[in-house]
């Protein structure tokens, strides 16, 4: 392998370690278990969404509705528990169903109605952003809120549900690892294994690379595409559950950045190990990369409003790695 090949393959990983080394020296307290856990926690929800959207990228699609699926799931969880006074299990099941149904509809629009993926999921995004405001006439949901008909909602978030956002597992140090981080790691391993080691994942890559060849090799291409959107929808709704559990209310204003952060992580993932294609490991590293960078900068007192700019720079650099340097993006 030439130097250039090495640069493409390991460049981003080296950059990641370089960054960690720099912050370790420059920022006090950056190297600590708590700091590491905080980084993981800060990227857990976007990471879960990014893993989901990776599945749609693999089949050559895209899902812009993930952010709104997550916030819709969050609002639905709050509505089910606070207004309908149901328990945590019901809330979780409702959220997952919403994710699956939105995924099915996205897939149906794209596969059978032949709407281009970006437009179909963009439409779904607008639809969901509007829909989640209708039951409460645009208000956030919290215990004791007044409903549109004047009654007071007396339900509350179950303890079991809040534990999803607040419980921490012991890991050498007591109360160290939050549930959301465990969920992220488990889902990352699951989707990585699914994409790399099962025949279904392999076929999804084939569909994304050459749909006709995959079809002529006997693959049910339409089903694979729809499943990709269902995976994306369900992962997004899991992100929504974690968000609701963290906030403890159905906050109409939260979750604005989810879509962009998740998509950025997945696209940064293209550059990891010179993959030049969507991949679960890259997505996870991409999410971590953004988390480490922001945590480090925050600890060095960079103002919060520079964050989006920094993320954008990282994304553009990663895309240059993928498309210009490796040359594989040209197909």
């Amino acid at each position: 392998m030439t130097l250039r090949d090495h640069a493409i393959r390991y460049g981003f990983i080296v950059l990641l370690f370089g960054l960690v080394a720099y912050f370790a020296i420059a920022a006090d307290g950056f190297v600590s278990p708590q700091s590491a856990v905080f980084i993981f926690q800060s990227v857990a929800i976007t990471g879960v969404l990014a893993l989901g959207v990776t599945a749609t990228l693999v089949v050559g699609g895209f899902d812009l509705s993930i952010g709104s699926v997550a916030t819709s799931a969050m609002m639905a969880a709050a509505y089910v528990m606070v207004v309908l006074e149901q328990n945590a299990v019901v809330a979780v099941v409702v959220c997952l169903l919403i994710g699956a149904i939105v995924g099915l509809i996205n897939g149906w629009l794209i596969v059978y109605m032949r709407v281009p993926d970006l437009l179909a999921t963009l439409g779904m995004m607008f639809l969901l952003v509007g829909l989640q405001r209708i039951p409460t006439e645009g208000r956030s949901i919290a215990t004791g809120m007044t409903m549109p008909d004047g009654s007071v909602a007396n339900g509350k978030f179950g303890d079991a549900f809040l534990a999803l956002g607040r419980h921490r597992f012991d890991f050498f140090i007591p109360n160290l690892i939050p549930v959301s981080v465990v969920v992220l790691l488990v889902l990352a391993v699951l989707i990585w294994f699914f994409l790399e080691y099962t025949r279904f994942g392999r076929m999804m890559y084939a569909v994304g690379s050459n749909e006709r060849a995959a079809e002529l090799a006997g693959a049910p291409v339409k089903a694979y595409k729809i499943w990709a959107y269902v995976i994306s929808g369900v992962f997004a709704s899991i992100g929504g559950i974690l968000l609701a559990a963290r906030l403890g209310r159905g906050d109409i204003a939260s979750g604005n950045n989810l879509l962009l952060d998740a998509v950025a992580a997945a696209l940064i993932g293209y550059a990891v190990l010179g993959a030049a294609k969507p991949n679960a490991f890259g997505t996870a590293v991409g999410a971590l990369f953004v988390g480490i960078l922001l945590q480090g900068l925050t600890m060095m007192n960079a103002p919060y409003y520079t964050q989006d700019f920094v993320k954008g720079v990282v994304l553009v650099v990663a895309l240059v790695f993928t498309f210009a340097l490796s040359g594989r993006g040209r197909g």
Partner: protein, 503 residues
């Protein structure tokens, strides 16, 4: 007719990394002459063309055009100097979303001196002049994406000719044309020859070469291995120089089969077409030949379950066979090596090993989890079996030559035993030696299955099949045992004589 050398290449070298592709190529093109360049895939033809047309930078050597030094840095410079290339990939030569008129005048839309505003009337006027000059009978308002491949090809060539070139390079221009369309192209080449254009014509097709060549230049392993310009031209010598070994035109020993594998009864594949009935036997290699667009691919797709027949029934090994999808066909043991590997075969994101395993992942997985060791072993076995030239089973397909890519496509489907093995134009864009390898492999492994080939080139059918069927107008019109074939009758059937004369 023979003029002085208008274009001269001397000692041209080019390497990619440590891989030397051109090792000092010298070539002359004369005005008013067609020079045919022959070479197996990987011989360096495409690289040579790309250097001449300004796509690649040369590694060494000189080029001159009409006595002047010629060193184009970009394709546009080469074109402006009068060296115009029509590349093999037709879609590189046309813009699919624009109409024919705009395509024909596309190069006048940019560059210095181009008017600022787009004037549709002027474009149509200029386009009409270009079209008339080369006798192009295509609706100028039609969108190129709605045209057939052959018409697109004509548009791409017409567009190149709009520059009034001194040197014209045609890279396998007939590979997707029917013979009537090819005749139109030949007439055009004749006209250009008379106008004094120096033409470099790259082709594998002997019929083209016999029809057009004034000189033949053979290339092998990055060097010129033979120049033939004495009349009558020594075609056999040219082929030998290109292959570097004596090719044996072994006569096929036609086999016949006792046991029927597939029986087709009254199959109708297009409205108004006469029904097709035929039987394919165990161990038999049957070729269906016919012009482009007579329904060969439609029949292949019908057998493979991608397309539904309008009427008729099929029986395989005594059981009714009516596949509803490619997946069902594969499950029943019917495999198809589809036409045009780039669009319907190769998965670009996958390496060789993964391309080979693609259709049989289910059989290579346990509870959905892939058995990677089995996958690798299968790929290595198939590389060995078909003699695929590659570094390892991890190679990207883009790094292989066309012939080897096609071998991978065949290897993919030969990894498992088929009941009916269909190959649609398996020799398209494949050099002669790879073609022979594939044909020999098909014949050697034919027992236990029926093998069905769809080929446009008659030579390919004669070289490979036990039995040759002729298709015309979406149906079978003739049948020949491949032993002392009555070529006149066969050609008449291909050309589509009155149906009642046919078998």
């Amino acid at each position: 007719m023979v003029g002085s050398a208008v274009f001269r290449v001397e000692g041209l070298r080019k390497s990619f990394g440590q891989n030397e592709v051109l090792g000092g190529v010298s070539l002359e093109l004369h005005a008013g002459e067609v020079t045919v360049l022959m070479g197996a895939n990987g011989a360096g033809k495409s690289t040579l063309v790309k250097i001449i047309s300004g796509v690649y930078e040369r590694g060494g050597g000189t080029m001159s055009l009409a006595g002047q030094d010629f060193a184009p840095n970009t394709p546009a410079e080469a074109i402006r100097a009068g060296v115009v290339t029509v590349h093999q990939n037709i879609n590189d030569g046309v813009v699919a979303d624009l109409d024919v008129a705009t395509n024909l005048t596309l190069d006048r839309l940019s560059g210095s001196g181009a008017p600022f505003l787009f004037n549709p009337a002027r474009v149509r006027r200029e386009a009409k002049a270009v079209a008339d000059r080369m006798g192009l009978a295509i609706d100028l308002k039609a969108r190129v994406s709605d045209l057939s491949l052959a018409d697109r090809q004509m548009v791409a060539i017409a567009r190149a000719l709009a520059h009034q070139p001194k040197v014209l390079i045609l890279d396998e221009p007939t590979s997707s044309l029917s013979s009537a369309e090819a005749d139109r192209l030949f007439a055009l080449v004749d006209r250009l020859r008379e106008q004094g254009v120096a033409i470099l014509y790259i082709s594998h097709r002997m019929s083209d070469i016999r029809r057009l060549a004034d000189r033949i230049v053979s290339m092998r392993d990055g060097i010129i291995s033979g120049v033939f310009d004495k009349k009558p031209l020594d075609y056999e010598g040219a082929v030998n120089a290109m292959l570097g070994r004596k090719i044996h035109l072994d006569q096929i020993v036609a086999r016949s089969s006792a046991k029927a594998i597939l029986t087709i009864d009254g199959l109708r594949i297009a409205p108004g077409a006469r029904p097709i009935s035929l039987t394919l036997g165990d161990g038999e290699v049957v070729a269906i030949t016919g012009l482009v667009g007579v329904g060969k691919t439609a029949l292949a797709e019908t057998l493979f379950g991608v397309r539904r027949p309008l009427a008729g029934a099929m029986t395989m090994n005594g059981k009714p066979y009516a596949p509803g999808s490619a997946g069902e066909a594969i499950a029943a043991g019917v495999f198809l090596v589809a036409k045009d590997r780039a669009t319907s075969g190769i998965v670009g994101g996958f390496n060789l090993e993964r391309n080979v395993s693609l259709p049989f992942l289910k059989r290579m997985a346990n509870l959905g989890v892939l058995k990677r060791r089995l996958e690798r072993a299968t790929a290595r076995r198939q590389i060995e079996e078909l003699g695929i030239v590659c570094r390892s089973e991890k190679d990207e397909l883009a790094s292989l030559s066309g012939g080897n890519q096609q071998k991978v496509m065949v290897a993919r489907w030969m990894a498992q035993d088929a009941t009916l093995f269909i190959l649609d134009e398996p020799f398209q864009g494949v050099d002669i030696s790879a073609r022979r390898d594939i044909a020999a492999k098909l014949r050697a492994s034919a027992n236990g299955r029926a093998t069905l080939l769809f080929v446009t080139e008659l030579d390919e059918a004669l070289e490979t099949a036990d039995r040759i069927l002729v298709m015309s107008e979406q149906t079978i019109v003739g049948e020949h045992r491949n032993a002392e074939v009555d070529l006149d009758r066969l050609l008449a059937e291909v050309a589509g004589g009155p149906l009642h004369d046919a078998a």
